[in-house]
Symmetry: C2
Subunit: 453 residues, 2 copies
């Protein structure tokens, strides 16, 4: 009996037509290789997920979980002969508890949908990856997704209270808690966050919520050099400011957004910094004025604060659209290094030099306020020589981030693209610990094999 | 060659006189059994810690790490024939970086000393267990310590960026990061936090810092019944308030503090609730007024707000002194359950009934705002019958907390006292995952064996 027969799932849950399954066999990391799955199972209950993992455990068949497939590191890419577990149909918000400030959701709930559902109760789920209109909470948990506001409000990890998980041996277990605090045993829920489907498959998520944030003041700064913008970021950190967002968008990105959506945003500046300050009342005014000073002190050609919600939203919308807009222009190799804030100017300077040295177009968006940079390496379709140069530039950027005390991935995860970088960052002893933990929770190595390390 | 000879450490580092070692063989959990150590090693460098663990690994000798010994669950209690690794002399603050908002400290740094050191830079390390004048950061990490302000600002876990750790095989490794964000590999630093010395021994801690908090308004509420006070807690959560502290202290505790320190705090009330509201400006005023309304609505006999720093400090100092004051009266069996906020009144009512049913004095302090209750079971010295009743009351409280959707330990850790509770809370499948992870990182089972599970 084959594994597919053994599964005994309703036929509509199991997809095997290669034309269909191939589209569900990779994420948005265009440069990462993807294998050919045996089948895609679109599960709708935790028990179905468990049945799939149990069958795969019995037959030592790999299982690769996926949500919306918006990942940028190849973490959800199929391996040959695997079962892809698509969780996008497990998309119900199961509970919102305003008093305990928590929500319980299935992994396929889209980030923005959760955000909208809890807003009706005056509550807020802060982690806001730029992919929030499409990406799912399950995927956000798998990669420990960050976003724009995490510079002040934290990442997915900081909002996961509890998980229901299917382990590598097919056990369906609850990890974590529903209470505000708890130290009962090891933090296995936390360990699952960011483990990219290699330690367990998440079938339910209990998230912490906050009250809706106060209204914010937006400060926009226009710079004629990216290094000046980096200096402004370091200056704002040195000034002790705590922005609720501090984003960098360069001209490549603004032009791509304009070309696509005609938003009229391209400006006579190389780089724009967008900050949000959300301290209430006079404190917010003071912080915004201080941010303008930091921008001007670092050489901004123009810096202005605005409380116009529509204008601010347009600027931040452009930021969010930068990645899909650039993707239209050719295969994008996305970087995700994160460096200490003081090193942001130096890292941006090195990226600029790397672009010149390797004759590669590198656009830049960045969660600049926490040193998380996304240089985007753009190559024409079919230009293999440029592709080779881009790979060398990518490797140089990773090496530079490590040399400056940074990490190879701030929020996208290791997946396939950052495996060599991870080895360089962690070293052999810590990698051995990873292997031990992996083996402990997935003894047959069936969960998303070949990813991370 | 014995393990002690093999260690080849300076003689003053190694204590073997049983009169001396016995005082370092237990924490403050008076009810938890402690074994007799082979020796206590007072290490002063990470390399010495590594040398001890390597020798213990080679000989399969248990290693029990300890900081100040202020734990309340027996987590640092010696087992027979172990080496106790005392880390209190590794007490240097190695680095404070105001721009990156982080500090690097040795594990033996006392919590209040770190707090004072970073305050000079205008920065704040929020986790503030009531033991903060004595407990060490290493111990705080081992138990994932909470405290008063964590209802708004989070627990130790939320402030640990990176760790240097000696593993169960004697490797000295760095886990985590120094950057604001990072998802490079599994969150092994997070896994270490709260693992009570069973997965690794922490030799250095990199903590995240915040700007100093704004001035706060204190609201005090006086209640004639503990259940009314619990209703006030639930009402403040339902009102959407986010206090920076919300503490409950009952009359037993206030009287004990007065008897000891003559602070004149005993009042004509059964219970006092202390809240701090630290939203800046008018928002803080509104929140404080709303808190007064919540207290009054739940039946407070008196509720008042105060911006008098000295008066507020006296009230919170009394809260912090409650535990040592009660300890003077007899052996205290300390509870640490945490329940959903809505269940605080019901849990407090059940504790009251349990005290009556088992004829036991139960004093109450609580981080009420996050549902973390510390019923303190007090027994006269030498009264074995009362001791047996107290143990039954303790078991009943644990069972009630689980029945109400809570956890057996909010911040003290499992240690020895909560092992049966943990088994009930997690169930066999999740306990098996714990055993697998433990075995992965400590294959010979030498690190603090017999604790947690």
């Amino acid at each position: 009996m084959t594994i597919l027969e053994e599964l005994d799932l309703p036929a509509e849950r199991v997809l095997t037509d290669p034309d269909v399954t191939s589209s569900l066999a990779h994420d948005e990391a265009e440069w990462a290789p993807a294998g050919r799955p045996l089948a895609v199972v679109r599960a709708i209950t935790p028990e179905e997920v468990q049945a799939v993992v149990r069958a795969c455990f019995a037959h030592s068949v790999p299982v690769v979980a996926r949500g919306a497939g918006t990942g940028l590191s190849g973490g959800a890419n199929a391996v040959d002969g695997c079962v892809v577990l698509a969780l996008d149909r497990m998309d119900r918000v199961l509970e919102i508890d305003p008093l305990e400030r928590l929500a319980v959701v299935q992994p396929g709930v889209v980030n923005d949908d959760l955000r909208a559902a809890v807003a009706e109760e005056g509550l807020w789920y802060p982690p806001d990856p730029a992919s929030s209109p499409w990406s799912t909470i399950g995927g956000n948990v798998a990669t420990n997704a960050g976003g724009l506001c995490c510079v002040k409000y934290g990442v997915t990890r900081d909002y996961v209270l509890g998980l229901q998980v299917v382990t590598g041996t097919g056990e369906l277990v609850r990890l974590g808690r529903r209470t505000a605090k708890g130290v009962a045993g090891y933090d296995l829920a936390g360990l699952m966050v960011g483990s990219e489907g290699t330690l367990g498959i998440v079938t339910e998520v209990t998230v912490k919520l906050r009250p809706l944030p106060p209204p914010a003041i937006t400060v926009a700064g226009y710079f004629s050099s990216i290094v000046d913008a980096g200096e402004a970021v370091a200056a704002s950190a040195a000034a002790g400011l705590t922005p609720a967002a501090l984003e960098l968008v360069d001209k490549h990105c603004l032009e791509a957004v304009d070309d696509w959506r005609n938003m009229g945003l391209s400006v006579e500046a190389e780089v724009v910094l967008l900050a949000r300050l959300d301290e209430p009342g006079a404190a917010g005014e003071r912080a915004a004025a201080r941010m303008v000073e930091c921008f001007e002190g670092a050489g901004a050609t123009f810096a202005v604060q605005s409380t116009d919600e529509a204008e601010s939203e347009a600027l931040f919308a452009a930021r969010r659209l930068a990645y899909p807009a650039l993707e239209r222009l050719g295969p994008v190799l996305t970087e995700d290094v994160c460096v200490p804030k003081a090193q942001v100017p130096e890292m941006l300077a090195r990226i600029e030099r790397t672009a010149q040295r390797h004759s590669i177009t590198i656009a830049n968006i960045a969660h600049a306020g926490d040193g998380n940079l996304h240089p985007l390496l753009i190559v024409d379709h079919g230009d293999e020589a440029a592709r080779a140069r881009a790979q060398r530039a990518f490797d140089q950027i990773v090496a530079d981030a490590l040399a400056l005390g940074g990490t190879v991935t701030g929020e996208h995860g290791v997946g396939l693209l950052k495996k060599p970088g991870l080895t360089a960052e962690l070293g052999p002893a810590v990698l051995d610990l990873h292997r031990s933990v992996k083996h402990a929770l997935d003894p047959r190595g069936i969960l998303n094999p070949g990813k991370i390390f």
